[in-house]
């Protein structure tokens, strides 16, 4: 009994000592919270890779005024309570100067609360629930647009080209899905489209046929889906099997722009359109180079998630370079003064509407055309003509 206790104490002490010893000198530490395991891991990985790529480039170019930029990437596993403890650990144990990352609305919402309470600057780059920047929090900054703005490009495409009469909305029962669906429902009412069905489904579901059958009975002009990755692919595959043929399938970003969507859904992904926040052909300096470099290095395409993370890393570096010191108030002042161009577009944090410290970013519409994600809307940036109308059965090879 005694011996076991002694051994335990020794092991514990060694663990403590080692974890303290890995601290690097001459670096400035920034915590990055991402889900790199669990069901959201695909998004977390793409963002982690983009962060690491940007970090290398920044350090190769001299780092932060001579200091190395050190990113501590911590796994939230996609769960709010883990995210919360991870941020606490970054603040108290690792003593980071600011926090970045933030994927998925619920996790970001919970972690942002901790940052606000601890006066810790947090630059969110993907978590998109409106609440994150409408809660009056002063230490939280957001690079990406809030979810309520995700569909604005889709809206103009709908009113100008597709002109649907009836709409069905499917969404995952998550903070992101529920809020996005509610907002799109409102938009449809405003634009005079009739919402014939609005239905949530459970996270991790695999059989969407019951709900898709109901959609088919209502025969809507468009089907709008707010989904993560597996559900997005499965929804399209099963829509194909049921021969559900509305005028257009529209994805509300997230899963529908990921390379894995095409791989999993196969031919069923063709001609599906999605809202997106970024595309490599946009006329932002470095956007195409970033896309090519990422593809060469990781052998996979990168979508807006990667661009957000990559841009966020450059914003963080810029902020730290400009900050008078690494004190939280100085970093906050530097964040407030941010006005820079990134691969994701211009970044500036302002207060507008109910939003605080929110960057204004535009949204776009992309379409999967012959296995490639092409920018189709707004017209002035388009890489390919918007394919419409579509004979789905022919496309699917029936």
């Amino acid at each position: 009994m005694k011996k076991a206790t002694v051994i335990f104490c020794i092991v514990f002490a060694i663990t403590l000592g080692l974890s303290g010893a890995v601290m690097a000198k001459g670096s400035v530490k920034v915590g990055i919270v991402l889900p790199t395991t669990g069901s959201l891991a695909k998004f977390g990985e793409i963002e982690r890779d983009a962060f690491l790529m940007a970090q290398e480039e920044i350090n190769a170019a001299g780092g932060i005024n001579g200091l190395k930029l050190e990113l501590l990437i911590e796994d939230t596993t996609g769960r709010p309570e883990v995210g919360r403890s991870v941020v606490e650990k970054l603040i108290t144990k690792d003593k980071v100067v600011m926090i970045g990352g933030g994927y998925s609305s619920s996790v970001t919402y919970a972690t942002a609360g901790v940052c606000q309470q601890n006066n810790m600057p947090f630059l969110v780059n993907t978590g998109s629930a409106d609440k994150i920047t409408t809660s009056g929090w002063t230490w939280i900054y957001r690079l990406n647009p809030p979810v309520s703005k995700y569909a604005s490009a889709v809206e103009s495409l709908l009113t100008q080209v597709i002109k649907p009469k009836t709409v069905a909305i499917l969404h995952e029962n998550s903070l992101f899905g529920t809020k996005g669906a509610k907002k799109f429902d409102k938009t449809c009412k405003k634009l005079g489209f009739k919402v014939v069905l609005k239905e949530g489904y459970e996270h991790g579901g695999i059989d969407f046929k019951p709900v898709l059958t109901r959609v088919k009975q209502k025969n809507p002009d468009i089907v709008y889906m707010i989904s993560y990755i597996m559900d997005a692919s499965l929804l399209m595959k099963q829509a194909k099997e049921l021969k559900l043929t509305p005028k257009m399938f529209i994805g509300g970003a997230a899963g529908f722009t990921m390379p894995e969507f095409k791989e999993n859904a196969g031919v069923a992904s063709n001609y599906v359109i999605s809202a997106t926040l970024w595309h490599q052909v946009l006329p932002f300096p470095g956007a195409m180079e970033f896309y090519k470099k990422f593809k060469a290095r990781f052998n996979k395409s990168v979508d807006y998630h990667g661009a957000e993370a990559y841009a966020a890393c450059y914003v963080i570096a810029d902020v730290l370079k400009r900050a008078k010191s690494f004190k939280n108030t100085d970093i906050k002042a530097a964040l407030d003064a941010t006005d820079m161009m990134t691969v994701f577009g211009p970044v500036k944090f302002t207060t507008w509407g109910k939003m605080k410290n929110q960057n204004k970013a535009a949204t776009y519409v992309v379409q999967w055309i012959d296995g490639k994600l092409e920018l189709v809307w707004p017209k002035e940036h388009a890489t390919k003509q918007f394919q419409y109308p579509i004979d789905w059965l022919k496309v699917w090879g029936y």
């Binding site: 009994m1 011996k3 076991a4 663990t15 080692l18 974890s19 890995v22 790199t36 395991t37 911590e74 796994d75 596993t77 769960r79 709010p80 309570e81 883990v82 919360r84 403890s85 606490e88 650990k89 108290t92 144990k93 619920s106 919402y109 919970a110 609360g113 606000q116 309470q117 601890n118 629930a129 609440k131 029962n173 998550s174 903070l175 899905g177 529920t178 809020k179 949530g200 996270h203």
Partner: protein, 321 residues
């Protein structure tokens, strides 16, 4: 006997002095979460281990306790601490209903009914947005920045929970519970009102789990239905804590809680950043292997089979020496 007194004395001093000595909020957090699991695991153990009614739905009581606390600030403008008084009681009310429905079933059927119950409650919390805010969740700002108050609150709760359970198990009730576990029909024929005592066991269990839930709301300051009604992270975790530590032992779930929380964090952080990152992906596998190992070689859990462990360790030591 004296050795025992010294052991408990040392343990008490360590428990009281821990947050004063280890100042890192990170380790304090891990111990607070472990203590919370001591409560949930011990409560589960009272119902499943001692009374033989294996529950797969302890997230019901945990979540109800947490939401009871969370609803105070959002609907009544009161502090979530009111939930500490009411969370356990509301959980008991829910448990009355659960017992009324589920205790008509026995063995695996009871387990399945509680499993379904947990999912039902989660769906209600997800969809009843006007009451629970749905998937938006409830976020409050913590009362204390320091972890000390939380630590002592949860420590008191955990100690109270274990003492109450120990007291019950030494009383007549305890014998009734065990007799129900061993043979419900025999117990019934001995004149024990099995329905009544199963319900008593469930109510006590639900009360403490609900208290833990209310504490969770106050401490973590954020809940949503996926978090507090989670099958995987609450209901199953409660079972694992019980099984690994030792079913039907007073101290088993307490030991199990520290082991499980420790393991979870060790894997999440890839052995505190010492091992390659891919290790963190293997945490589910490691949990699985641990459970298989415990069930095969230590069926009574680490505390239940402590004698076996001691013998094994002792023997290998001697041959090594």
């Amino acid at each position: 006997m004296q050795k025992k007194t010294i052991f408990w004395g040392v343990l008490a001093v360590v428990a009281l002095a821990f947050p004063l000595v280890i100042r890192s909020p990170y380790y304090q957090h891990l111990v607070i979460i472990s203590l919370m699991w001591v409560i949930i695991g011990s409560s589960w153990n009272l119902l499943a281990g001692y009374t033989g009614q294996v529950s797969f739905g302890h997230a019901i009581f945990f979540g109800v306790g947490a939401y009871t606390a969370g609803l105070f600030p959002i609907h009544l403008g009161l502090s979530a601490w009111w939930g500490m008084l009411t969370g356990g009681i509301v959980s008991m009310l829910v448990a009355l209903f659960v017992g009324w429905v589920c205790f008509r079933l026995r063995g695996p059927y009871f387990a399945l009914a509680t499993l379904a119950g947990g999912e039902i409650v989660r769906l209600i919390a997800t969809n009843w947005e006007s009451l629970t805010e749905g998937m938006v969740g409830i976020l409050i700002i913590q009362t204390f920045k320091s972890k000390l108050p939380y630590y002592y609150i949860v420590l008191v709760l955990a100690v109270a929970c274990i003492l109450v359970i120990e007291r019950i198990m030494k009383s007549k009730w305890g014998y009734y519970f065990v007799s129900i576990r061993e043979d419900q029909d025999a117990a019934e024929s001995m004149g024990i009102n099995t329905t009544l005592y199963k319900n008593i066991s469930l109510l006590v269990s639900a009360f403490f789990t609900g208290m833990a839930g209310a504490f969770y709301m106050n401490y973590m300051a954020f809940i949503d239905p996926e978090v507090v009604f989670s099958l995987h992270f609450i209901s199953i975790m409660a079972i694992l804590v019980g099984i690994v530590g030792g079913v039907a032992t007073i101290w088993g779930p307490a030991v199990g809680a520290f082991i499980m929380v420790g393991l979870q964090e060790t894997f999440r952080s890839s052995f505190f950043g010492l091992a390659p990152k891919w290790i963190s992906q293997a945490h589910a596998l490691a949990f699985g292997l641990l459970v298989i190992f415990v069930i095969m070689y230590l069926p009574n859990g680490i505390v239940g089979d402590w004698a076996t462990i001691k013998r094994l360790v002792f023997r290998t030591r001697r041959t090594a020496g």
